[in-house]
């Protein structure tokens, strides 16, 4: 039981860091540009598909990821320049409608380019095995890679935002746009850059998960809602909130799915537990969201008022 | 002297260490315009939010017609005859002028969980709204959209919305804010006609308007009332001149 718990805990952590990669971009773009991007999940999907093609082309997953990152950045950059930028002045309703249109377009373009089937990404041998993390506890190497690269990226983001000039501009931009303009910074390039950064983070999440789940059309459409739950719980616009909420939601969701049924069996007969378990665990994170909202409508770590 | 409608006694409010309202006592009588003036940061806004129950005082009482209303719920104030206009113009831009006032009328006629009968066919709703508009001289613009009004007209509309419930006590929070000389003059004329059968508390920066309109003036400095009297008394009060008018 405790072995299984540890393994599921790590699985939850893995989901958590993926959610963070998605939520970070969402919260960054919202915090700075006040823009709601439903199509963020499409960047996650596109990252996975481009990485798949490049992995086959170069014969190496690592090269696939490294080459796919700049491509996704460029896509994000032009996505902002061509479409998103014309929507900053509109209201949130227009944002969600237009980015909903982008999802339709992205899904179809991916289908046109890669066909309707999912694509599995092969891992090199040194990543596809398992390691013994504690005596008698083995865990897939690649999942550990996901966790550690996710945490590394989170640390990198923290450094970027706290210590660099770009980070300073991002923090200033979130609280005061005119001030950033007054500093003589080209705000439109800053916005496009931030958007591209968000796209890369989402793309990396897609690339990391694809070897486990395959790259599939519409793969971003489900997880994006979970990422929304993360930023709602964490407080929209807050990077710290996104990180803590992502890890929390990832672990709670995973543990709920594995153990809720067993826990319920303690209280009720197993037939009802077998029905109630999956039903309740699938709703768990939304119930948590509802509770957080009921207590703190602005989320756990609301950013400072702009 | 006519009947005292609103009476304030020993009102106190502080935020942290800052005393915003310091033992304020004042009264507003029927058929008069009582103006409150004071330099920026004197605590005028804090004072009137306490009069209207938007903030609760730390100590002291507000009486209306002899009843203690210090802690009376916001939405109950309208039904006993209190109304206010706001410092910042805030009307329903995509509603017609008449509809703006109708919403105000409707707000004070109990709940609006009435789903079936068309509001357009309610004769009294329309009549009461038109009456309020006529009082501020906007009846000719009733069918226009609020977005089509000039700034001055929107301020008039604000006052019509406050008048919509036919209040006995009216608080006007800087009605001349942002107005040109011509518009201000019109507003002064309008306000003069409103004081009959009611009490008006006026908070205003435009000194010309205040001294022309007010029957009595109270001067608020750093949360304290330093003087109350007729315009002439205030004009000649040395303490006021020093604390306030001297600055200008």
């Amino acid at each position: 039981m405790s072995t299984l718990f540890l393994i599921q805990f790590l699985n939850g952590l893995q989901l958590g860091v993926l959610l963070f990669l998605l939520a970070a971009g969402l919260t960054l773009v919202f915090g700075i540009m006040d823009f709601v991007n439903l199509a963020h999940g499409s960047l996650y999907m596109i990252g996975a598909f481009i990485c798949a093609s490049l992995t086959f082309w170069t014969g190496s997953f690592v090269w696939g990821v490294l080459l796919a990152i700049p491509i996704v950045a460029v896509i994000g950059f032009f996505f902002e320049k061509l479409i998103v930028r014309h929507l900053y002045e509109s209201n949130h309703l227009d944002h969600v409608l237009a980015t909903f249109g982008i999802i339709l377009i992205a899904d179809t373009l991916v289908q046109l380019s890669w066909g309707p089937q999912g694509i599995a990404i092969p891992l090199p041998d040194y990543l596809s095995g398992q390691v013994e993390i504690l005596p008698d506890i083995i865990f897939p190497t690649f999942r550990l890679v996901i966790i550690s690269s996710g945490l590394l990226i989170a640390a990198g983001l923290y450094w970027l935002i706290t210590y660099t000039r770009l980070g300073m501009l991002i923090r200033a931009g979130a609280s005061n746009r005119t001030m950033v303009s007054a500093l003589g910074v080209d705000i439109s390039t800053l916005f496009a850059g931030v958007f591209a950064l968000g796209a890369v983070l989402a793309g990396i999440a897609g690339m990391l998960i694809a070897p486990i789940t395959e790259a599939t059309i519409g793969m971003g459409n489900d997880i994006i809602i979970t990422a929304f739950v993360v930023i709602i719980v964490g407080g929209i616009g807050s990077m710290k909130g996104a990180f803590i909420a992502a890890i929390l939601i990832g672990i709670i969701d995973t543990l709920g799915r594995s153990f809720l049924k067993d826990i319920l069996e303690v209280f009720m007969e197993s037939a009802s537990a077998a029905t109630a378990g999956p039903a309740l665990s699938s709703m768990l994170i939304y119930i948590i969201m509802a509770i957080v909202l009921a207590l703190r409508p602005q989320g756990l770590f609301p950013p400072k008022v702009r | 002297m006519s009947e005292v409608l609103l009476q304030v006694e020993g009102l106190k409010k502080s935020f942290g260490g800052v005393v915003a309202t310091d033992d304020v006592a004042l009264d507003v009588r029927l058929d008069e315009i009582h103006a409150i003036i004071g330099p920026n940061g004197a605590g005028k806004t804090t004072l009137i939010t306490q009069l209207f129950g938007e903030q609760l005082p730390d100590a002291g009482h507000v009486f209306f017609k002899g009843n203690d209303i210090t802690r009376l719920a916001l939405h109950k104030r309208a039904s006993i005859g209190l109304a206010r206009s706001f410092q910042i113009t805030s009307v329903f831009m995509d509603f017609s002028v008449l509809d703006n006032v109708a919403l105000a009328v409707q707000a004070h006629e109990g709940h609006s969980f009435k789903f079936w009968k068309a509001a357009t066919t309610e004769f009294l709703l329309r009549e009461n709204a038109m009456k309020a508009l006529a009082q501020v001289g906007l009846d000719g613009r009733a069918s226009n959209m609020a977005s089509e009004l000039s700034h001055g007209e929107r301020r008039q509309l604000e006052i019509a919305m406050a008048l919509a419930t036919n209040p006995v006590f009216l608080l006007l929070d800087e009605p001349m804010a942002g107005m040109g000389a011509e518009e201000s003059a019109l507003m002064v004329k309008l306000l003069k006609g409103l004081k009959k059968d009611r009490a008006i508390l006026l908070v205003e920066h435009d000194m010309n308007a205040v001294f022309e309109l007010a029957d009595r003036i109270s001067v608020l400095v750093y949360g304290k009332l330093i003087a109350t009297g007729t315009p002439d008394e205030i004009r000649n009060n040395s303490e006021v001149r020093e604390a306030y008018l001297g600055e200008a």
Partner: protein, 331 residues
């Protein structure tokens, strides 16, 4: 814009959304509603089940769009989870039927009641928030409902469940295509008229006032939260009714009808048709499903031009198809 321009009369009157629109717009409205009535009749007369079902599908989704328009168009609440109410309405037919209870007098009240209850609970939480929060939270709650029904293995899980016979009304038999069409058309007409009455009532004035300037409504003494919640519940319940009809139309119920992309499509219909006009959502539903049908006949990649259309309509069209028609006539 929630209030259409009214021809100025000599005597000022309260302005309100009109039922059919004004001038030429009125003609178009009546024409489209007549076509929506005539074409299915012709299809039925010619024995063309496909076009009859297609028309009924338009009508059912139009009911859902009309319900969404009440809060989105008139109330200004961007609810991105309306498909959940369709799903709840559908399962309120499917699950009792699975257990052998086939009476429509159970199914339809249950659909309306449960959808209304779900709206009450989720609305009570989501309406405490504003703007983007509200959009995302309605989305998340809809996704919660989706996963809930997906997890019910007993009722088909992700395979969906078949409805072996349509709801039993006793007096009338809706297994017959024409009768079912007439039922749906009447429900649509009733829902439109209901919306019309509501937005013109005192309640509707308040709802539109909250859309226009919520802080001012609060200052006037309105409890805006309660009014909005009430509208949200009415809207959800009405949409649940659409769900019950859709279940009967498809004879098949799946959680896929409540994914958030479905909610997006509903919103698109409302915007396409012109949010805040009484008949707008009906035009939107007709236009949306027609375009989808035509495009998908040409290409399996129909979503591509559709997405482009959506972006273009956001960037360039204000007031939806309805507004476009009206402006076309005016110019």
């Amino acid at each position: 814009m929630s209030v259409q321009e009214v021809p100025k009369n000599l005597k000022p009157h309260l302005q309100a959304p009109s039922l059919f629109g004004f001038g030429q717009g009125k003609l178009v409205t009546i024409l489209i509603m007549a076509l929506l009535f005539m074409l299915p009749m012709i299809a039925w007369w010619m024995g063309n089940k496909f076009y009859l079902d297609f028309s009924v599908r338009i009508i059912c989704l139009a009911i859902a769009a009309v319900s969404l328009n009440l809060i989105l168009g008139f109330g200004g609440l961007v609810s991105f989870g309306h498909a959940a109410f369709i799903g709840i309405g559908a399962y309120a037919v499917g699950i009792p039927a699975y257990h052998g209870y086939e009476s429509a007098w159970l199914h339809f009240p249950l659909a309306v009641g449960l959808a209304g209850l779900f709206a009450l609970v989720t609305g009570a939480i989501s309406l405490r928030t504003k703007g983007v929060y509200f959009i995302m939270i309605t989305m998340a709650f809809a996704q919660m409902a989706y996963y809930f029904f997906l997890s019910l293995e007993e009722y088909g899980g992700d395979d969906g469940m078949t409805l072996w016979s349509r709801s039993d009304f006793g007096l009338i038999n809706i297994s017959d295509g024409l009768t079912f069409f007439l039922l749906c058309y009447s429900v649509l007409a009733i829902c439109i008229y209901l919306t019309f009455r509501i937005v013109n009532s005192r309640f509707g004035m308040v709802l539109r006032g909250c859309n226009s300037n919520e802080p001012r409504m609060k200052a006037l003494g309105y409890n805006t939260y309660l009014y909005r919640l009430t509208a949200y519940v009415i809207s959800g319940a009405m949409c649940g009714l659409a769900g019950a009809l859709i279940a009967n139309l498809q004879d098949f119920i799946t959680a896929d009808t409540m994914t958030w992309t479905r909610s997006g499509e509903l919103m698109f219909m409302v915007i396409l048709g012109g949010a805040g006009s009484i008949f707008g959502p009906v035009f939107g539903a007709v236009a949306f499903l027609l375009i989808e049908e035509v495009l998908s006949a040409f290409t399996i990649y129909w979503a591509l031009p559709f997405g482009i259309l959506l972006i273009l309509s956001v960037l360039f069209i204000k007031g939806g198809v309805n507004g476009l028609i009206l402006r076309g006539w005016k110019s």
